[in-house]
């Protein structure tokens, strides 16, 4: 994998910030986009913009083919069938779809829902609301000092187990296969939030055995506003639509309407066509590089970064790079993460600071907030060095 060559595909990496070349280390929040993805969107609007699934004219035929082609690419990328791929706007919407269309129908006051303390708010709040509305029991799995999920066996018997695949703070990769097994053995279903895993490692939903897998496109080189819910066909078929309106019907009469087939039943209204095309192109790009290669590159970067940072800052989550995705949340003792981020920004080093939409986890760790550096396929050891130098500077300034 030739990182220098990959970097040439990302125009934004040439950008200067405060007179310094940008070191973009906030990929956990969103990734940058390669020229191929940007060009695909420009091409769509310049050459064949039209609504999908409607017209019989040339442009509409072309846009429909491109939109459905994107669905096929995504399906192949995670080893699913096309009718199991529902385009949504992001992971939050995907999880809300499961909550409303599956949860509201199947959860009662005797039900148990299990999530973990390490969930992103997108996989926390919907289940909290569902449990409140249905008077169901909501249970939380804890994490240990290393950031590993504990007590998964206790979740057995839950009606829904919804867990993050890779934590956006601790970086910990959960054993999704085992989670799904526990869910099924106890007679429940499994929902996996893959927002932080799918950009960084190969995903096979069949092998994983999950009932639902939710992710967003913009963290994996695609534009914002496009995400995916994978659902097992037999479950999706039994579920009611999430949103009602255009395109999700097969027939509308005054007396009533009939729902469209999968996956269209869940895609009401004109979809995000450019987003889907961008996501399909991003998948092509990732496939060309190879997900195994990307994972290998990130493990190398992570090991390097963890080695250099562990004596400088407090790191959260496992210190073994193979146990985490490409991100490191940390704190410089005595310095607020906002100050860390601002001082790094002065040198063009872009990191995240705050609670990363994981407030319950920060409470659990006894923290108000943390700083987070997150890597992707285009990041280099030189950028890690700049990060480390920047942190040393923070420590000098605030000493």
């Amino acid at each position: 994998m030739d990182v220098e060559k990959i970097r040439e595909d990302f125009p934004i990496l040439e950008r200067m910030v405060n007179g310094k070349k940008i070191a973009y280390l906030d990929n956990g929040a969103t990734s940058q986009k390669p020229r191929q993805v940007i060009d695909a969107i420009v091409r769509y609007y310049s050459e064949y913009n039209a609504n999908v699934h409607r017209g019989v004219h040339k442009l509409s035929e072309e846009s429909t083919v491109a939109y459905e082609d994107a669905r096929r690419k995504v399906a192949e990328f995670i080893n699913a069938s096309e009718e199991e791929i529902i385009f949504v706007k992001n992971a939050s919407e995907a999880l809300n779809l499961v909550m409303y269309s599956y949860g509201m129908k199947n959860i009662t006051h005797t039900s148990r829902i299990t999530i973990s303390i390490a969930e992103h708010h997108s996989n926390f709040v919907p289940w909290q609301v569902l449990a409140e509305r249905k008077k169901a029991k909501l249970e939380f799995l804890d994490v240990d000092a290393e950031g590993e999920l504990v007590g998964l066996e206790n979740a057995s018997g839950s009606d829904i187990i919804s867990l993050v695949h890779a934590s956006n703070v601790l970086g910990t990769i959960n054993d999704a296969q085992k989670i799904c097994k526990v869910a099924h053995e106890g007679g429940g279903i499994s929902v996996i939030d893959g927002s932080q895993s799918i950009p960084h490692m190969p995903i096979d939903v069949k092998k994983m055995g999950c009932d639902f897998f939710a992710f967003t496109g913009h963290k994996m080189l695609a534009p914002t506003g496009i995400g995916v819910l994978y659902g097992k066909k037999e479950l999706l078929e039994k579920m009611e639509p999430f949103l009602y309106g255009g395109d999700m019907i097969i027939e509308v009469k005054k007396e009533g309407s009939k729902w469209n087939n999968l996956p269209y039943k869940f895609e009401a209204g004109t979809p995000n066509i450019e987003g889907a095309i961008g996501l399909g192109t991003a998948v092509d790009y990732l496939n060309k590089i190879g997900m195994e290669e990307i994972r290998k590159h990130e493990i190398e970067l992570l090991s390097y970064a963890l080695g250099k940072l562990k004596d400088e800052v407090t790191i959260y989550g496992p210190l073994d790079a193979r146990k985490r995705t490409g991100l490191i949340a940390f704190n410089v003792p005595g310095v607020h993460p906002h100050d860390v981020a601002t001082i790094l920004d002065e040198d063009g080093i872009e990191i995240r600071s705050g609670h990363h939409c994981a407030q319950p986890l920060h409470d659990r760790l006894g923290l108000e907030s943390s700083a987070r550096a997150s890597f992707y396929l285009y990041n280099t050891k030189e950028e890690v060095d700049r990060l480390v130098d920047g942190i040393k500077k923070v420590k000098r300034v605030f000493a």
Binding site: H336, H355, E368, F398
Partner: protein, 127 residues
Amino acid sequence: MSIEYERIVHIWKNPPNRGEIKDADLVAEGANPICGDKVKIFLKIKGGKIVDASFTGEGCAISIASASLLLDYANGKSIEEIKKLDKEKIMELLELDLSKNPSRLKCALLPLATLKNLKNKEERPGQ
């Protein structure tokens, strides 16, 4: 690092007006849940004017420096006068231009927002 930010960090290291006033007439609390900044402001009032002011709290350098400098400024003024202050005044006190860092504005404005939130009924200025 910019000279302006250096000044902020310098104030942060040893901020004037930090501490608690045990017999304060007014106490106001504020927080930015997003970043975890917290501030508690203590005011001593005599004849309608603030005669002593202090704060406790945790937060980033900007929010701490802002509390410190705002309370310096507040001394000798009425609460009404302080409530009328705006963003520009805080930037002036901080000698900082956050127009390029709007995300840090909330940190800078927390102490002022906390004072603005003082409910009138809680005020018992000068007996």
